[in-house]
């Protein structure tokens, strides 16, 4: 009974938050100055012809004629039915097509990198926490602190410049080869080859946080009495590290991991720009710059949905892992 109440409670909050997110999603873009037709053509800088802007305005159909409430009702209806309309920026391409072209790339690149970074960071964090008094542990601590301090955009550029341009080991841009048409296995290879540098950038950028989170949790768990007891029992060091300390220390990390998985959909803007990777982050950035309401709303909808879902799932997983939560 108690379990059911917990689930219902969580679900209720999920729906309420989603509604708020959708409302904010609707209001924010409309607070921006200027008009979309001009912004869409802004990327051509001082080469824009007013006639083109005029034609674009007609094409977009000036939304100002409709009152906000009916726009909002339409928006909710369309969101629920999955009809996101035509993108302004890529006019006349439908929003769903833009998303279809970008979401898989983002899931692949950012998803894989997040998982790898979490696994690697957690292992290193366990090690650093266990050896907190040794040189290796301190070295890891310094290493992760400095990783976190590196400006990530700059790091991406440096990695690309050295390994892509100077040494020529890796391609400079794009998600797969643009010099020939590949299919099947060679395409898969090309995709992996092109993903290596962006993936390394993403891993390096987030690794420090994972190590630190895990290490600090380890350190606080290791000061608990049951660890002392386990040591007194004469259990194997390694066994205590994994089964006693890490098992308890990993809980907060799991939560953070769930939330970052939720954010995967939002892509990785800077990495995508530096490596010309066709992900969602870049589309969102462009959409915001050009007031592409339909596209902004669709992307935000998916981000809010996945973040809230990830939170919901994590709540349940947590309840399952940690009996104290179920109370």
């Amino acid at each position: 009974m108690r379990g059911l109440k917990y689930v219902a409670n969580r679900l209720f909050f999920f729906v309420i938050t989603l509604f708020f997110a959708l409302t904010i999603n609707f209001v924010l873009p409309r607070l921006m100055p200027g008009d979309p037709a001009e912004r869409i053509l802004s990327r051509f800088g001082p080469n824009v012809d007013e006639k083109a802007i005029e034609a674009m305005r007609i094409a977009l159909g000036v939304e100002k004629d409709k009152n906000l409430l009916s726009q909002f009702v339409d928006y909710l209806k369309n969101t629920i039915t999955g009809n996101f309309g035509i993108s302004y920026l890529h006019y006349p391409v439908p929003v769903s097509q833009v998303l279809r072209n970008s979401i898989p790339w983002t899931l692949g690149l950012v998803g894989t990198s997040t998982i790898l970074s979490f696994l690697l960071g957690t292992f290193l964090g366990i090690y650093a926490g266990w050896n907190r008094d040794k040189l290796s542990g301190s070295a890891l601590l310094v290493f992760s602190l400095s990783l976190r301090a590196i400006p990530y955009f700059w790091l991406a550029m440096i990695i690309l410049y050295i390994f892509g341009y100077k040494l020529g080991w890796f391609p400079l841009s794009n998600a797969y080869s643009t010099t020939e048409i590949l299919t099947g296995f060679s395409l898969v290879l090309s995709v992996i080859y092109h993903a290596i540098l962006p993936s390394i950038t993403l891993i390096v950028a987030s690794l420090g946080s994972w190590i630190l989170t895990m290490r600090n949790n380890m350190v606080s768990v290791l000061s608990e009495d049951f660890i002392t007891l386990a040591e007194a029992k004469g259990l194997d060091e390694r066994y205590i590290m994994v089964h006693y300390a890490a098992r308890n220390a990993i809980l907060p990390s799991i939560t953070a991991f769930g939330i970052s998985l939720g954010f995967v959909v939002s892509g990785a803007l800077l990495t995508e720009i530096v490596y010309s990777y066709p992900g969602v982050g870049y589309q969102l950035y462009r959409a915001v710059l050009s007031q592409d309401f339909p596209l902004i709303q669709a992307i935000f909808f998916f981000i809010s949905l996945s973040v809230l879902l990830a939170n919901l799932i994590m709540d349940f997983v947590y309840a399952f892992l940690d009996p104290r939560v179920r109370g």
Partner: protein, 529 residues
């Protein structure tokens, strides 16, 4: 692992072997391509469609001022410049084998009328009354007003295949994923990362196309595009490249030519005091050292502009007898003019007249780094005279909105030049374009409007020269805005695979990637054997 490396090396090797004469170009740095080959919508793929796949009746070469017959083999004005007859080229085929006829031309013009969103060239707004089919290969355009500049609008109309587009419910929402055109290239392969085009073997002018295929990779930002250029992967790039001089020294096959693009001005809001006073505006014209703006702000990539804003190639339109009115950088004269306009330095060192102080925000779009640098220099220069210009970079949308709503004092902005100086004067000075168009400062003057209308009523060079001279006098005496420089048309090219590129020595075309210019340019290229 060894095997993996072997495959990698193979891949790299395969990359270096290319087939036929392939040209790689950067069309845009706006991210992954979306599949949309509607030639009437600006954007990377729209540009691919406009010129490579779809063509116009005539091509207006803005660099030479010529009209080149294209899908129309000849055209003739008639009825006192109220109609144009186009003789269509025979034997032209759409890429699906259907013949191109007058029906396609009529259909295209009618579609632009029915769907104003497609009328980017503004043919109907420009005074078209009706389109008449004379026979299968002759079309007549009837105008409601005399407009001798009308051909420039026609040169922007990409002819669509009736047998396909007539089945489309709403052409202004049509993404045209499998384009069928008359152009020199066919869509070979599309992906969000790269578009490849191959030569159309049945092209009506196939003998003059020596580039077998075109490869257009997608880039999401200047950085990755610049690296690709520096790496020698690109034959033609329409992008900005900082310190390009260093790069072309390192890589002998790379060259650049930054042609005169749209002119950039310091615009005053002419509806506000004290900018209603021409003497004050003239003081600004004498006060600004434009050479320094070009050299430092634009890092030498912009071209100087004369006070009457007449581009090279059109020098014959310059009125020599007005040259005594041309201004140049001259601080002494500037100071004299400020005094003449009644301004004196106050206690704070800023020029003032009554309760008007020359202290203003200078608006510029945020993120346009070279322009912001120019504004900083302008601000420094004007401070020497006691004029305070506070550089204010604002979001581009807000920037245009504030100009449109007359909510500004001084702004750094541009005017669209168009195909010829006549078009430019019309864009820049016509009251119809005040604030909303290229007449950003809002120059509203009956005499000017009448003169501009007269230009459209004649095609006679000597008559036009007289009118242009009078317009130049208006410019010189009133200084509606201060011209500073021509923004560059970014153009970097490589002679590794192709020769015959345009440059300052052979400026046969403006190297723009947006429209018909690019196919005209490609027809001048020869593969390196």
């Amino acid at each position: 692992m060894k095997r993996f490396y072997a495959i990698l090396t193979l891949l790299v090797l395969m990359v270096t072997i290319s087939l036929g004469a392939e040209l790689s170009m950067i069309i845009s740095v706006t991210g992954p391509f979306q599949r949309n080959f509607n030639p009437y919508f600006a954007g990377a793929t729209g540009y691919v469609a406009a010129g490579f796949i779809y063509e116009t009746l005539i091509y207006a070469n803005t660099k030479t001022g010529d009209f080149v017959p294209w899908l129309a083999s000849e055209f003739k004005w008639g009825a006192g410049y109220k109609e144009i007859t186009f003789k269509l080229r025979r034997g032209v085929k759409w890429s699906d084998g259907t013949s191109f006829t007058a029906d396609d031309v009529i259909f295209t013009f009618e579609t632009l009328k029915k769907f104003p969103a497609l009328d980017v060239p503004g043919v109907w707004k420009g005074g078209l009354a009706e389109v008449v089919k004379v026979d299968d290969y002759t079309v007549k355009l009837k105008l409601s007003t005399v407009n001798t500049l009308y051909l420039y609008s026609v040169a922007g109309v990409y002819i669509l295949p009736k047998h396909i587009w007539s089945k489309v419910e709403d052409p202004s929402k049509f993404t045209n994923e499998n384009p069928v055109g008359t152009g020199a290239y066919l869509l070979d392969n599309f992906s969000t990362q790269v578009i490849t085009l191959k030569k159309n073997p049945n092209y009506w002018n196939a003998a003059n196309v020596k580039v077998d295929s075109i490869r257009i990779p997608a880039f999401s930002g200047n950085e990755s595009a610049q690296l690709a250029v520096a790496n020698g992967e690109i034959d033609w790039a329409g992008i900005n490249f900082p310190q390009i001089e260093k790069l072309v020294q390192q890589r002998k096959e790379l060259n650049y030519w930054f042609a005169e693009g749209n002119p950039v001005f310091l615009f005053f809001n002419l509806a506000k005091d004290p900018f209603k006073d021409a003497t004050l505006r003239k003081a600004f014209a004498y006060a600004i050292n434009t050479d320094m703006l070009i050299k430092i702000g634009m890092t030498g990539y912009a071209a100087p502009v004369n006070p009457v804003v007449i581009k090279s190639g059109y020098e014959y339109l310059i009125s020599e007898d007005l040259k005594n009115l041309w201004w140049k950088y001259d601080p002494k004269t500037a100071e004299k003019l400020f005094a003449q306009a009644g301004f004196k330095k106050g206690k704070d060192g800023i020029l003032a007249k009554g309760n008007i102080k020359l202290s203003y925000e200078l608006l510029v779009p945020a993120g346009w780094t070279d322009w912001i640098a120019v504004c900083e220099l302008l601000s420094q220069q004007m401070a020497n005279y006691g004029v305070e210009l506070k550089v204010t970079p604002i979001d581009y949308g807000e920037y245009l909105q504030r100009i449109r709503n007359k909510n500004f004092d001084v702004v750094l902005s541009w005017s669209n030049y168009g195909a010829t100086p006549y078009n430019f004067y019309d864009n820049h000075l016509n009251s119809a374009n005040a604030y909303v168009g290229s007449n950003r400062g809002g120059w509203i003057d009956k005499t000017t409007d009448e003169l501009l209308a007269k230009i459209k009523e004649t095609a006679d060079i000597s008559a036009r020269k007289v009118i242009m001279s009078r317009l130049q006098r208006i410019l010189l005496e009133n200084v509606p805005a201060v011209p500073l420089y021509y923004n560059p048309v970014w153009f970097i090219y490589s002679t590794k695979n192709f020769t015959g590129w345009p440059n300052e020595k052979k400026p046969y075309v403006e190297p723009r990637i947006t429209g018909m210019d690019k196919i005209y340019l490609i027809m001048n290229l020869e593969p390196v054997k």
